[in-house]
Amino acid sequence: MSEQTVALTIKDLRLDVAQTGHDIVDEITLNIERGKVLGLVGESGSGKTTVGLAVLGHARKGVAISAGSITIEGSNVLALDRKRLRQARGRLVSYVPQDPGTALNPALRIGGQVLEVLETHGFGADAAERQARVTEVFEEVKLPSAASFLRRYPHQLSGGQQQRVGLAMAFAARPAVIVLDEPTTGLDVTTQAHVLETIRNLAQQHGVAALYVTHDLAVVATLADEVAVMYAGRIVELAATADVFAKPAHPYTRYLVAAAPEMGSDRQLVGLGGRAPSPGQRPKGCAFAVRCELATDECRAEFPAVTNVNPNGSHEVRCFHAFGVPERTVPRATASITSSGTDDAALALRNVTASYTGVAVVHDVSFDIARGECVALVGESGSGKSTLSRSIGGLHREWQGEISLDGESLARSSRDRPVQQRLAIQYVFQNPYSSLHPRRPIAESIGRPLAIAGVDKREIRREVDRMLERVSLSASYGSHFPDQLSGGERQRVAIARALVSKPKVLICDEVTSALDVLVQAATIELLVDLQNELGLAMLFVTHNLPLVRSIAQRVAVMSDGAIVELGTAEDTLSNPQQDYTQRLLIDTPRIPDFESGQPA
């Protein structure tokens, strides 16, 4: 790495909680060369966004940049005064936020918003040149550059187009460094694939160094040249992408890679309990030690220095045991239950058509779920998969056709169904932050289905305690309120609530989409265990294709309200018959097989 090619240098960066002086991130050191993409990976709370914003010289309210330097093209961003910093942002370094829908000004035309960036920085010699640059940058991000398109407002664009406008604003003034903060979250896989391609091309063609902040390992694997893994505010591993995935050297990275769902492989998802310590609660030594099976007294006493484990290049790890980390991947046990015929169907759908305020969004859907079987319902957002699952749960009333449980036809609304049926079909919601009553102790939330069934109080308490233990939360959690729990713990509570009444059918609606990858893996492990143990018929709704094979035996692919393909998970994902499924599979980012053909 020569001095000339390095565009961004971060050295010993530290940010504190201003009031307490607790470190949020510390000892952040990394370089990005021109035209390269560095993926900054970590769980929520690891401080990755904090680092991303610090590159723009920005610290959130209550947070102070207390040490270190960030050098872009020879100038230290952190040493600039307000005025110079303002000039640097957009010109020297720019930012693409997570949600373009809220980042664009809804009252301004998109062409005007991009032009504004150029005017602020006095780009070009005159107005004509700036206008030409606007047209040019729209072409660069693969958007129409016609005057009529530039005159549109953000709400007239799709999510993918909005994010491209975000990219256009960031690239407009030709910055040296660009920070991207999960810019593809919330986009469909197809749109995501196109946006990622655009980012990669722009970085390469214009020699821009990109810092890509994300929690999604698959995205990093396809996009980044280098990966930095963050844990509890520190970079624990930093190496070329292929090295990180093929030979992860830090135990935490090994867990991350093992927890990432992979479409092509047969390995089982492995989760990890516990959570990363928050600022102020971090130990003196390695913050991962409490969750690490390799931890020794040495790890607990001091944070290890950087070790280079690659004799031929650079593969930095902060672990005393970097050379002795065991493999974490486990081959998946072959499914004990194969899909069975319709005679054993716990849940049967016949010609179900659902509409939303009169507009049909689900068309003529028929399939069965057998006892002990898990069917994954996959599709992009807007495909009608949520409406269908809500119809089964009795939460959506506008549907026609027949849904039957054990041969008995179900009423449309849950209120019209008898208690036994209501308790026999249980629902786990997408967002654990909104599915639990915030002002009610969790034991009460979990016990409610039993109370409805008329079980007496003492029995309820016993069952609730048993369920809490079963989902790996101790019974003492019962008196906690949801805000005292992490996202993964809340989702376990929601699962406990769903299973306490011993249902026959469990509907999981995107239950892991709000969770970090390790927590997601642990949640999937738990669901698979419980499903086998209780012989549940499960409908697992998801947009995350790689996850499907870890949990489901069969998969139903939904597009525009219809099921376009239905088959075993293995066949459908390895040999899709329909164009739609094929396209979905191609666009889904996956971790390439770095091990074959990659030298040390």
Partner: protein, 303 residues
């Protein structure tokens, strides 16, 4: 006036600092008590409610007992002199708080009960019920509170029940609006859907799932409405519509004694100060509550 009722979302930019702040939160009341404005407000309200309740028992004279010449400041045996009718100002002041406080509290309570019920029902059911209820609330809102009270009181006469009904009735739509506004985002949240999936009754969902989650903004609004009710009832008293002629009432006292303001200011100033402090007190409490609610709903206590 709007209150921020935000649904806590997993905000990645906020993530790091939030986990640095204490995770468990004390209750609404206790957090609000941590603010000085709330403490001052409570102190003022306690003082004036105390005067209103205890006053009549400690007053040296009866409410309409003659003690000397009218509008005199130095009358032997009295503390602050006599009013326009030769009655003891201090005694009348001590007697005059009960009616205004009673009327204001009861009418606000009525508005609070009906208003929150209507707001919750509208928010939960949406659709036609929502439209009918809320348009009806708009109709009530269209009448100016004071004018409606004046019309009713001049027709029927100064009856306490009439004041309570009018002020209570006109408070209902104001509280209903706030409640509905706060409840709509709560209805959208999944724990309500979870309760529906279990087949919980509508009544139970409204009282057990929705109500606890809007109680913060509701309390703020109720307190604010109490402040306004005090103002209106004092105003009606001043105009002579709140009570019988010559009854002891702070609002009426201001009106009776204002002619002699330069000779004997106490008869006007004392009840005026009392009403002002009372409204400032309830106002401070609702301000303290609203700050706390905003903080709690954002997922962290206000510091």
């Amino acid at each position: 006036m709007t209150y921020p009722v935000t649904v806590p979302v997993d905000d990645t930019i906020d993530e790091t600092l939030d986990s640095a702040v204490a995770t468990s939160q004390p209750g609404l009341m206790r957090s609000a008590w941590g603010l000085w404005r709330t403490r001052i407000g409570v102190a003022l309200v306690v003082l004036l409610v105390g005067i209103a309740i205890v006053g009549p028992w400690v007053a040296p004279y009866g409410a309409s007992e003659f003690v000397g010449t009218a509008n005199m400041r130095d009358v032997p045996g009295t503390w602050l002199g006599t009013d326009y009718f030769g009655q003891d100002v201090w005694s009348r002041f001590l007697h005059g708080g009960r009616s205004i406080l009673f009327l204001a509290t009861v009418s606000t309570l009525i508005g609070f009960l009906f208003g929150s019920a209507i707001g919750l029902i509208a928010a939960y059911n949406r659709g036609r019920i929502d439209d009918v209820l809320m348009r009806f609330m708009d109709v009530i809102l269209a009448f100016p509170q004071l004018l409606l009270a004046l019309v009713a009181l001049t027709t029927v006469g100064p009856k306490p029940w009439l004041i309570i009904s009018i002020v209570g009735f006109t408070t209902i739509p104001r509280i209903a609006r706030i409640t509905r506004g706060a409840a709509v985002p709560v209805v959208e949240r999944d724990f309500v859907a979870a309760a529906e999936a279990l087949g919980e009754s509508r009544f139970r969902i409204i009282t057990r799932e929705l109500l606890p989650n809007v109680i913060g903004p509701l309390l703020v609004e109720a307190n604010l409405r109490l402040t306004y009710a005090i103002g209106i009832i004092a105003g009606l008293g001043f105009l002579g519509f709140a009570t019988e002629r010559n009854a002891a009432d702070w609002g009426l006292m201001v009106q009776e004694n204002r002619v002699a303001l330069s000779v004997q200011p106490w008869g006007t100033v004392l009840p005026a100060i009392a009403i002002a402090l009372l409204t400032v007190g309830t106002g401070l409490i609702s301000d303290g509550l609203s700050r706390t609610v905003a903080g709690i709903d954002r997922g962290r206590p206000d510091s």
